[in-house]
Amino acid sequence: MEIVCPAGTPAALRTAVKAGAHTIYCGFSDETNARNFPGLNFNRTEMREGVEFAHSHGVKVLVAINTFPRAGDEVIWHNAVADAEAAGVDAVILADPGLLDYATNNHPKLRRHLSVQAAAANADIINFYAQRFGVKRVVLPRVLSVQEIATINAEIEVETEVFVFGGLCVMAEGRCSLSSYVTGKSPNMNGACSPASHVEYHDDNGVLDARLGGYTIHRVEKGEPAPYPTLCKGCFTAGEKQGHLFEDPVSLNAGQLIPQLKKAGVTALKIEGRQRSRSYVAQVVRNFRAAVDALALGQPMPEGMLAKLSEGQATTTGAYKKTWR
């Protein structure tokens, strides 16, 4: 199976290549991708050089252009597609049907993948994207069980890619506007869920408050693991109960499910984390490369040591094994 690894910077890309990635995904330094964070991503020169480096080691590069173009500013997204093709990337990862249509008509030789941001969660919509826009691979949302993925794969012709590690989003991706209610910025159009410009931390003798857009969204006591400052992982009071009502602050780790995912017809395993360091990239990529190599040899899945890299220092298999509260 193919390991698809994140790279937020050229150094992370080189690290991923060295650590054993089959494929790397990255984005341009602007709002055309869903990890538009300060100090992150690639300018056009860096992208060209990154692709050259990866290709020289037999590694593919995919470019995420997976936010939704603003009316009147479509040219920014059109240029990103053109520049990705000029840089020699192996595919672009798109979400917006209009942009898919543009790429199909203007860059027909550029391979197109459907981003998780398109939230394509059933065979009918995947077949539509494949027939209408020639999409060759779809990144499935993180809301499906392994059985549901198997059912979808039985009814489609295109490849599927699923997340196996990293930040866990249980919302309908590309359609969630939760953080925009307190920040005024849309994760789907500006490219950052809970943008850092609206996040504040206050440490008072070890008690850590996280605020988003001025609202305290969670507080952790001294020594307790800290989560990301996203609203969906905030702590709320409803009725008599206080807790993480939307989602617990944990990360996805489906390493042990890789054999089942292969059986379900999955082509590629995606690691989340373009916003993470090269240290994270190296450790996670090595672990998952070892896992797929073990699978290919018919060996058991190795036990990973990745909990410390996980949000809240805890992991879950997410929706792949559904045990809803």
Binding site: A11, G206, L208, P225
Partner: protein, 175 residues
């Protein structure tokens, strides 16, 4: 592996050292490093003139870093210092971040690293430094002329004995 802490005894010695000469030396050193890594300041973008406070929580001073668009100034000061963004953690954690030995988010999850103030500026600095692949010990060795060889051995010895990352981490291994 727990993050090494600077021993309390030597830290007490540092608390009586005059900081001004150290600040002048560190500023000169940082400007030489800056010349070798112009991309770091380009990546800082709108934060290349932000004042950062780096707070090694096991040392009796904070480090005020002003990138100044590629002509940095480093000032050591007592107390909390005053800057747009504060990044606090054990000195070994801060060095490990620079050298790619640690992941910033993981240190944040484990509460070994605290970020206060302008989160976007702190994030930009972390990402720019991570991409720069700095090797602070090697930069120092390169400036040391005839002392380069003994210094290299000294850094290697201290790193081995203390577990503190003083050089670029070869995280990807041989290939």
């Amino acid at each position: 592996m727990p993050i090494p802490r600077f021993p309390a005894g030597p830290a007490r010695v540092l608390s009586v050292l005059p900081l001004a000469p150290l600040s002048i030396s560190l500023t000169a050193y940082s400007r030489k490093v800056a010349k070798n890594h112009p991309g770091l300041f380009r990546r800082l973008g709108e934060y290349s003139h932000t004042r950062f406070i780096l707070d090694p929580t096991d040392l009796p001073f904070v480090i005020c870093l002003e990138p100044n668009g590629g002509v940095p100034r480093v000032t050591l000061m007592r107390g909390r210092g005053n800057g747009a963004a504060r990044i606090a953690g054990p000195m070994a954690a801060l060095l490990g971040l620079v050298h790619g030995a640690y992941d910033g988010d993981a240190l944040f999850f484990s509460r070994d690293l605290v970020i206060e103030g302008d989160t976007a500026a702190a994030l930009a600095l972390r990402n720019a430094v991570d991409d720069a692949e700095l090797d602070l010990a090697q930069e120092f060795i390169n400036m040391s002329g005839p002392f380069a060889r003994p210094l290299r051995r000294l850094f290697a010895y201290v790193q081995h004995k203390t577990g503190v990352s003083l050089t670029h981490s070869e995280i990807a291994g041989a290939w």
